[in-house]
Amino acid sequence: MLLNVKNDIREIDRVFTCVKEFCCTNGISEKKCFDILIIIDELATNIISYAFNDGQEHTFTIMIEKENEMVHVQLSDAGIPFDPLKGTEPNTDASLESRKVGGLGIFFVKQLSHFMSYERVKNRNQLDVLVSLEEEE
């Protein structure tokens, strides 16, 4: 499935509907579908919020494919270069007072995925994420 998404936060609603449909059609469990929704929501929201700073309308793509026991998600945008794998991780042991707000989105994607890779290809950010469909206990 290939989605063309505008850099408008209202698009997230449509993305949710399409991802749920994809999971349903491919017999993916509700639990795994929740993980896939988090991954795509966090990454798409980042692109919508930060990739373009010219105030113009842009379109980026989200590709989702089931490959055996994996789901392959690929996001591609022509925004400013950004490698989400290079950020610092939040301190999940910090106290309430010292816990910093933010930085959780990419951390969730890393936690929920099996494999992630970033490449700048022809002036586009290309992020590939693999999600294992094996249910862990």
Partner: protein, 111 residues
């Protein structure tokens, strides 16, 4: 997402209904922030919440800090397994009080 706010035995109960993501987090934040000045004893019930992303957790962290600074109490209750998993993944289960049932959350308040 819609938010219902009600009072129960002097505690403000906030119930977000639907999805808490970036597109709805602002609405969620406004609902909580509006309730805090009136009452520093707050329960957020996730019974009707189908989904939460980092944007939703950010709002809860900000609210938790604000309530703690006012010497108030915040209790979270009635999460589905998947929502609880998101809280655990973020480490928020170690800094916020999470109860399985609404009654458990209610009885945790100092009288």
């Amino acid at each position: 997402m819609e938010i219902t706010v009600k009072k129960d035995s002097g505690i403000t109960v906030i119930c977000p209904n639907g999805r808490i993501d970036t597109s709805t987090a602002k609405n969620f934040e406004e609902g909580i922030m509006k309730a805090i000045p009136d009452n520093h004893q707050i329960i957020i019930s996730f019974l009707e919440t189908s989904y939460i992303s980092s944007a939703g957790l950010r709002v809860i962290l900000v609210a938790g800090k604000k309530i703690a600074a006012m010497n108030g109490q915040l209790a979270l209750a009635e999460m589905s397994d998947k929502i609880l998993e998101v809280f655990k993944m973020s480490g928020f289960d170690k800094i916020l009080k999470i109860y399985p049932t609404f009654e458990d959350a209610k009885s945790s308040f100092n009288r």
